[in-house]
């Protein structure tokens, strides 16, 4: 898949309480969750973010809770892709399972700035910073994960004969 969008930058250890505070977990409505996304890090994030925008963050993005509400909230703001130097394990699984594109990239992404325009090719694992001209490479997904994504998520994947890996 190819994504093009402007960047929002966050730091290391962005936890699931920052992505969607537990005080809003009394709903499962994606739009309602989106309206509080990243609120405790940037109270205006959900108002400012545009369809297709890209989040770039440091290490251990999505640490903490198993709440699937976190990737759902991000996806429902219109964010097309999250790039981080590493992801917390459960957030990583949940993003794949609900179809939020994520890329693990250690290739100097700290040099990407807020507002930069990126062009991402998830199949090739390339990230081009259109604003600065720099190109970064990300770790591509293992085939098994690609299979889940191509099936349109885990539950569709399970409907096939893929259950016996």
């Amino acid at each position: 898949m190819i994504f093009k969008g402007n960047v929002w930058v966050f730091g290391d250890n962005i936890d699931t309480d920052v992505i969607i505070p537990a005080r809003y977990l009394n709903t499962t409505n994606p739009q309602e969750l989106a309206s509080h996304c990243m609120e405790d890090a940037d109270p205006d994030f959900s108002a400012k973010v545009q369809e297709g925008d890209i989040i770039v963050a440091g290490s251990n993005f999505g640490c903490g809770s198993s709440r699937e509400h976190a990737p759902i909230a991000i996806k429902s703001t219109g964010v097309s892709c999250v790039i981080a130097s590493s992801f917390a394990r459960i957030f990583y699984r949940n993003s794949i399972n609900i179809g939020l594109s994520i890329l693990e990239c250690n290739d100097g992404i700290e040099n990407i700035s807020i507002g930069d325009e990126l062009k991402i090719d998830t199949d090739k694992g390339t990230i081009r910073n259109v604003t600065t001209g720099k190109i970064f490479s990300a770790r591509p997904f293992p085939d098994f994960i690609k299979g889940i994504i191509n099936a349109g998520g885990l539950l569709n994947y399970g409907k096939g004969e893929n259950v016996n890996v």
Binding site: D15, S66, L155, V165
Partner: protein
């Protein structure tokens, strides 16, 4: 062909003789667990995918504990969705308010999770059951929906870090202090994607409750699971609880570890994790004199009977500081009842504390003790992220029940030895 305890459990549940780190497997689960926050999302996904009947109504646990007893109308709707699904599917391990407890305290206590099990839960602290020698790990709601349909879950076999705790713990040093020390040393992503295997002589001094606390916080170092080999104390704990057979697994000598880390626990003193990450760990002395507004003793980390006994021992014949709210939350109905029997509840109430019915409540900023702007709490919970217990400008300090109780008396972070000469 040597394997760690984690590899052995994963191999057994995927029908293989050997699995190696990095290998992708599809494994059968012994139990799939969800709560009132993650369950409704899993149920929606289950239905959307055309699910009609769960794979095994005895191997699913649905526990309304986070915002229950219902904190508001929306939470009531979530609990209702969980209850209706449990009824419709005849789920055996559904626990209604009045019988429920915090999931990770309740399931071991009731003998629902046992050594050698493979357990997944749509809650990150599912890693708790590793203290009994089970492989257990947190997943999301979609994984849980998939497991409810198929009885299966996919895993990447993790590498293992072995932690060896040498020596005998110092006075007032508990399982909580050992795990806080560990997270402080390796960081909140120090065990990212990995299994954390806890071993060593020091563990033999810990109660099973303290061991559950240690495994519970493996996730705070990014770990996939935390696990310990069962010993005599484990078997004693299991003896009158298990209602089915189970299997004991132990790591092979010379199994492959990505890293082996040794700690001499005689060098470890009671700890506190400062805001806003569980890795910001210091000795209590370095945090003393930080004033606090609220103390929470409870949660899936430290809401068990042993935790309450220790806290009561510290608080006995003292009063809670005039400007401090001490909120005590037994993790299960059994703990609640045992506290009454042992006179612990009376100790807390006479000291000026509130004793609540079981709930996760304030730990994740749900209710029952939310912090205002600028307020500070010391809590026996597991996370101190920004806004975790309330206002984004409030602060949470993590500690053991003994340190939390001493702090409630003084109104500031306090070493328990300062308020009582009784050792634990």
């Amino acid at each position: 062909m040597r394997m760690t305890i984690t590899q052995k459990i994963l191999a057994k549940h995927s029908g293989k003789i050997f699995v190696e780190p990095g290998e992708l497997i599809m494994a059968e689960v012994d139990l799939a667990l969800a709560n009132d926050i993650t369950g409704p999302v899993a149920i929606e996904e289950f239905k959307k995918a055309g699910g009609r009947k769960v794979f095994d109504r005895e191997k699913i646990a649905l526990i309304p504990d986070h915002f229950a007893p219902n904190k508001d109308i929306k939470s009531a709707e979530l609990c209702k969705a969980l209850r209706e699904f449990a009824k419709e599917q005849q789920i055996v391990h559904y626990y209604e308010v009045g019988r429920m407890g915090i999931e990770h305290a309740l399931l071991p206590e009731q003998g629902i999770v046992l050594p050698g099990d493979l357990v997944i839960g749509a809650d990150s602290h599912t890693c708790t059951y590793g203290a009994l020698g089970a492989f257990s790990t947190g997943v999301g709601s979609t994984d849980l929906a998939f497991a409810m349909m198929t009885g299966k879950c996919w895993f990447k076999v993790p590498e293992t870090i072995k932690f060896i705790y040498h020596g005998k713990p110092n006075p007032w040093v508990t399982g909580k202090d050992l795990i806080l020390h560990t997270i402080g040393e390796i960081g909140v992503d120090g065990a990212l994607y990995m299994s954390m295997e806890f071993t060593g002589e020091a563990l033999s001094y810990l109660t099973v409750d303290e061991r559950l606390t240690m495994a519970n916080m493996a996730i705070e170092a990014g770990g996939k699971n935390g696990i310990m080999e069962p010993d005599e104390k484990t078997l004693e704990y299991i003896k009158n609880r298990a209602k089915r057979s189970y299997e004991i697994f132990v790591s092979d000598d010379n199994a492959d570890y990505s890293q082996i880390i040794d700690y001499n626990v005689e060098d470890i003193q009671p700890k506190v994790a400062l805001p806003h990450l569980p890795e910001n760990v210091v000795n209590v002395e370095e945090a003393q004199n930080i004033s606090i507004d609220q103390v929470v003793i409870g949660s899936c980390t430290n809401g068990r009977l042993e935790d309450m006994r220790v806290a009561a021992k510290v608080i006995k014949s003292h009063k809670v500081h005039p400007y401090v709210r001490l909120i005590v939350i037994p993790a299960t109905q059994q703990v609640y009842q045992d506290m009454i029997k042992e006179g612990i509840t009376e100790v807390f109430i006479q000291a000026g504390a509130v004793v609540s019915t079981p709930t996760c409540g304030p730990c994740l900023g749900g209710y029952m003790g939310i912090l205002a702007k600028g307020e500070r709490a010391i809590a026996t919970t597991n996370r101190n992220f920004v806004g975790r217990m309330g206002h984004p400008e409030s602060e949470v300090y993590l500690s053991s029940p003994a340190v939390a109780a001493a702090s409630a008396i003084k109104g500031k972070i306090t070493h328990p030895a300062e308020v009582t000469s009784n050792d634990i």
